[in-house]
């Protein structure tokens, strides 16, 4: 797979840019293409490749070569690939990691080695606060953001008896902490489930008995599908509104959940219908290229590529100008598909966050509509702790 991709990228280069004699800039993508999370990495990769394809093998006018390797969602594997990229390929720019635990194993080491890492997804708090680094940029969000926006909305909506549910592992606890950072009402119950749990009947029965006025859950991937389906089957969908981060309601997951997700609310920084020219062009070309609607992950991969492009352009592809390249990245001088976008002092986004509702669109497809913008220019809670 990797070889084919490289080959395609190379052929594009050879056929379209004979003028450039210089070596293309190598970009190493460590991402998750297998396991249950495989479709996340697939979308990040495809979004990234789309940006390269739109420029005929270049980013910001500079020829690039993207190398993609599958980390299988394992930190050890991710580390191994990163080492290979650095030692074998002399890669100076890396990106792609989906999961926070892989990012924690890879990122601190590679940025210490002087490599620039642009995160298109994982944004663990440890890398946003004290553990931040001048060579680390997150173009997606700090992990808490998509929970914070839901917490704020629940407060504004006047919910006062919210039931909380997340898996019993660090990211699950962070999610509920993020929600509670902006939620001011009461809590009807707080439940931690097994990681990778399939059946939620016991939790749903307890939830019904607690009679909450809303439910907030964070169950990424297949766990979310299980939960949302079972929530609807238990007859709770019509009675108690369901809230979560966008991770359980992206456009591909929604096809697998179907109508069980109708009417659920979720927090996101992006959605395909977001009204700005860059986004319209992105969604249209992505659909044409891959025959499916892009997810937020694809939009993040695309933005990561275009951010890198903007900085490559500023230094004319010369990565030995490390400081100039970093300054250019900090400027974020590209048209993000999110519209309003800039970096905060810890190289994490300051952006608008939205509350979405799951609907059926005009074509009968499951989709998200924007209920409203909840945060404008929202940063993260850890920026103050960051010192480069």
């Amino acid at each position: 797979m990797t070889k084919t991709l490289t080959a395609i990228a190379l052929t594009t280069l050879l056929t379209t840019s004979p003028v450039f004699a210089a070596e293309p800039v190598k970009i190493g993508m460590v991402t998750t293409l297998s396991t249950k999370g495989g479709y996340l990495g697939e979308d990040i990769r495809d979004g990234f490749l789309l940006a390269i394809r739109q420029e005929d093998g270049r980013l910001g006018g500079i020829p690039v070569e993207l190398r993609v390797e599958d980390d299988g969602a394992q930190p050890e594997k991710g580390k191994e690939i990163a080492d290979q990229f650095i030692e074998r390929d002399q890669v100076r720019i890396m990106t792609g990691i989906v999961f926070s635990n892989v990012a924690m194993a890879v990122v601190p080491k590679v940025v210490r080695d002087g490599v620039f890492y642009i995160s298109p997804n994982a944004g663990p708090s440890a890398l946003a606060g004290k553990g931040c680094d001048k060579n680390y940029f997150n173009v997606a969000w700090q992990n808490d953001n998509l929970h914070e926006v839901v917490g704020q909305y629940a407060t504004e909506k006047g919910h006062n008896k919210v039931y909380l549910l997340a898996p019993n592992y660090p990211a699950g606890k962070d999610a509920l902490a993020g929600f509670k950072r902006y939620y001011r009402g009461g809590i009807a119950g707080e439940v931690y489930t097994k990681l990778d749990q399939a059946d939620y009947s016991a939790e749903l029965a307890a939830l019904r008995a607690a009679e909450p006025d809303a439910v907030f859950f964070f169950l990424p991937g297949g766990m979310g599908i299980n939960f949302v389906k079972q929530y609807a089957q238990a007859g709770l969908k019509e009675k108690i509104p369901l809230y979560g981060p966008a991770f359980s309601f992206d456009e591909r997951l929604l096809q697998a959940v179907g109508e069980a997700a109708l009417g659920a609310y979720n927090g996101s920084q992006w959605t395909p219908t977001l009204d700005n020219p860059a986004n319209k062009a992105f969604v249209e070309t992505f659909r044409a290229a891959y025959g499916r609607t892009p997810t937020l992950y694809a939009s993040q991969g695309y933005d990561a590529a275009r951010l890198i492009g903007s900085a490559l352009k500023a230094v004319n592809g010369d990565l030995s100008k490390t400081d100039a390249f970093r300054t250019a990245l900090e400027k974020a001088d590209f048209a993000s598909v999110r519209g309003n976008f800039r970096f905060g002092p810890n190289h994490h986004p300051i952006q608008d966050l939205y509350l979405l509702e799951v609907i059926k669109d005009a074509n009968g497809q499951m989709a998200n509509r924007i209920v409203r913008k909840v945060f404008t220019d929202h940063g993260d809670a850890y920026a103050a702790e960051c010192r480069f």
């Binding site: 293409l33 396991t35 029965a205 008995a209 991937g221 089957q233 238990a234 179907g258």
Partner: protein, 305 residues
């Protein structure tokens, strides 16, 4: 009280699902002395085929009818191509080879169906809820799962105690060499048993499809619990698999439902929630350890092992 009844029903339903998985696995493990980690892959195949056919035709029953032979056929092919080479080797080789099969099947679903999870809904005639306990609307589909499980248990009981094939299966579980020496075609018997096991796994997959995410690797989440079930029940015993599955289903559900609440009586809420969740996750393993201390060969050990 109503909550307790509802949770018991949930436990029963989970137990039945586990029984469908473990009945096949315990036969294969007990009779053929084969550790098959790839049993979950046939669960996945059942779910994928059912989701695809249901999606194309709109009929859950057609999906079911397509998925069962598909899972059984996949099982027979795997038995002939792979498992036959493993019977005489030690368990470590079997674990390695069948672990390889898991990766093979996960990759195969990715090639055939892509990385995105598939959609599968409950059939319209089972979509609603039933107030089986007054005041507690219970999903009709889950009741149907319980019904199917009970039917399968009855069918297996009949098959094993009343038919010639069942007699050979029981004999095989007791003494594999002797039944071969008596002129029973042991290769064919193994193929049939393996196919029957994967058919049951496929059935579990179909029944799980509308409740769970149909995705690559879905079989692994349930596989470990399935092994716990057959160890608790007694390896090779279908009766043990039924008892073990119901026990584990109930323990798991009731621990998840009531442990955190119970701990809140003694500890501060935040600690109780975390500790309760961790203890609930351990519950079934504690039960397994206790059963093994009490009866080292499981609740209903098969004869002659």
């Amino acid at each position: 009280m109503r909550l307790l009844l509802e949770q018991a029903l949930n436990g029963l339903q989970l137990g039945v699902m586990l029984f469908l998985m473990s009945a096949g696995l315990t036969l294969v493990f007990g009779i053929m002395n084969l550790i098959n980690l790839a049993h979950g892959s046939f669960f996945m195949i059942g779910a994928y085929v059912a989701a695809t056919v249901t999606g194309l035709t709109g009929s859950f029953l057609l999906g079911l009818l397509a998925a069962l032979p598909a899972a059984a056929l996949a099982g027979v092919v795997v038995e002939i191509l792979v498992m036959r080479r493993l019977y005489d080797r030690d368990h470590l080789d079997q674990v390695l080879a069948t672990f390889g099969l898991i990766m093979f099947f996960n990759e195969l679903t990715r090639i055939v169906w892509g990385r995105q999870p598939l959609f599968m809904d409950t059939p319209a005639w089972l979509a609603g809820t039933v107030e089986i306990i007054s005041g507690v609307p219970y999903p009709a589909y889950r009741l149907a799962v319980i019904g199917v499980g009970m039917l399968v248990a009855g069918f297996l009981y009949f098959l094993i105690t009343r038919t010639r094939l069942g007699m050979q299966i029981r004999a095989g579980a007791t003494n594999r060499e002797m039944i071969g020496a008596l002129g029973v075609n042991i290769r064919l018997l193994y193929t049939l048993v393996f196919g029957l096991g994967t058919l049951l796994a496929g059935l579990a997959g179909v029944m799980a499809g509308p409740i769970l995410a149909v995705e690559a690797g879905m079989g692994e989440s349930i596989l470990i619990v399935t092994f716990v079930v057959i160890v608790v029940g007694g390896i090779g015993s279908v009766r043990g698999a039924l008892a073990g599955a119901l026990l584990i289903g109930l323990v798991d559900t009731l621990c998840r439902a009531f442990l955190p609440t119970a701990l809140r009586l003694a500890l501060p809420a935040a600690q109780a929630d975390t500790l309760g969740a961790s203890l609930a996750a351990m519950g079934i393993y504690i039960v397994m350890a206790a059963v093994l201390i009490w009866r080292p060969r499981g609740l209903f050990p098969a004869y002659g092992q």
